[in-house]
Amino acid sequence: MQRFYPYRHYIITFLLFAFITAISLTFRNELEKTNIILIHLLPVIVIALRGNFIATTLVTTFSVGVLALIYIPPTLSFLVDELIYIWSFVIFYIVGYTITFQARRIHHTSVKEILYNTLSHDLKTPLSSIMGNATFLVETHPLDPALRYQALSQIIESSRQMNRLISTLLDSARLQNIHTPLKKEWCDIVDLIGIALREFRRDVLHERIDCRIDPDLQLFYGDSGLLTRLFVNLIDNALKYSHKDKAIHITIIPNNTTLKMTFCNECPSVPPRDLEHLFEQFYRAGNTADISGSGVGLSICRDITRAHHGQIKAYNTENGICFEVTLPILKRPSHLLNEVS
């Protein structure tokens, strides 16, 4: 199913055409030509709302073609007997392009606005911490060494946070562009988890992370950069939304056809209504206003998982929440280790 997801609009349009054709042919004698022409405008409008000019052209041409072929005399030919129908067809294109243009504009402004609001908040929060602490260090003399250390650590931590967010945004932009394919290679998942953990301060993680990874885990064929980003965001999420001293459990279990990875942390339970929306861009659960986060992190986790034809879901446990990523194993490494020690 995941594979067809990007084409869902075309599938809907196709089904709509089938439905319209069924109606039109059944009630051919009852309906006026004008009515039939009007219902054929429906798929054009549906696809035009996507804001893609090529898709609009394609569907409009198809719609016009069906009309000329089946309903407008002479039937079973693309010829039409009256000039007035040509005008109808031109109107089809005008309607299609106008809606596409508007849809595009609305889409751009709304995304820009949300992006602007959340990003300005999320980039400004660590930035103000950096500026605040740096100014404090420059202006306060003499300074207690313990305070100095605290301020400097805060600067480092905030810069790391900014760096993570910027990397996430860059990867997100890369995923949005369908023309850049995944850079797939053989990945050692344990290694990638290790790299993801390096993005966080050691003392933050010390003793909190509990990794359970199958020792015989095979190599996985995927995009190592994006998979690392997936792990970084899931760990970041677990660290942000759990109690400071509670453990974070990472479990990786392979089976015949899939690789299942779970990231669990202890926190108050999330309402089921929110669980479904967690992966939507810029969505944040209602009770998290005081935690810095943009709702970009989990949305890119979903994008990365989908790009690998996998699934991601969140569920409540007895004392917390788990994020489960399931990736299908589409390619297996050949056995190499047959050397004798």
Binding site: W186, C187, D191, G194, C211, G225, L336, S341
Partner: protein
Amino acid sequence: MKPHQLILIVEDDEAIGKLLHLSFQQFGHKTVHAKDRKSALREIQTRSPDIVLLDLGLPDGDGKELIKTIRSLLTVPIIVVSARSEESEIIAALDAGADDYVTKPFSTNELYARVRSTQRRFLVHQTTDSLITCDTLQIDVEQFSATKEGQPLKLTPTEFNLLKYMMLHRNQVLTHDKILKEVWGVGYQSEMQYLRTYINSLRKKIEPNPTSPTYVQTELGIGYRFVCGKGN
């Protein structure tokens, strides 16, 4: 790293240039700052620096070309400081002759450690001893044996060759292509699966904790780095 060395900083950004200048001055070194390719070449010809720190994105041309030019003029360690996280750029710079790299944002400690280990490689001659040691690991090149904390390690021939190659080229970034070519041979450069599999099995034998390896560090998308004595 000896004090009073001359460090050439090729960087068009004022703030980063200043930061590099301050931190190296702190360690007792002198710095020269060049903002573009032309002045970098001039400084290299007139002052012959001990180390070159080079930003890849220069206003008057590609940094990779500059690396090649420097290489043809002087034997000097070149460390790339890059804001471009595109791995192919870094690999191209390493292929052009750069010795190591750090990506922005970086910590000055990290950069200093890279500079020190790169410079040591330029000063120290390759050992002719058959014993190679790194922390608690030791291999005997002639006997084809390896030990960890005095205990013998059971390694396959490929694992042994891989470990030997990395221990001989410790604390430097080794690209995937280079390791495959040196350990497996010409024609194996694209066999990433071999490399990943053997690194994985080698780690299981020499690393105490596979999720935070102490010896074999992964440089994502680029290669590996075998770390001895915490990079010192």
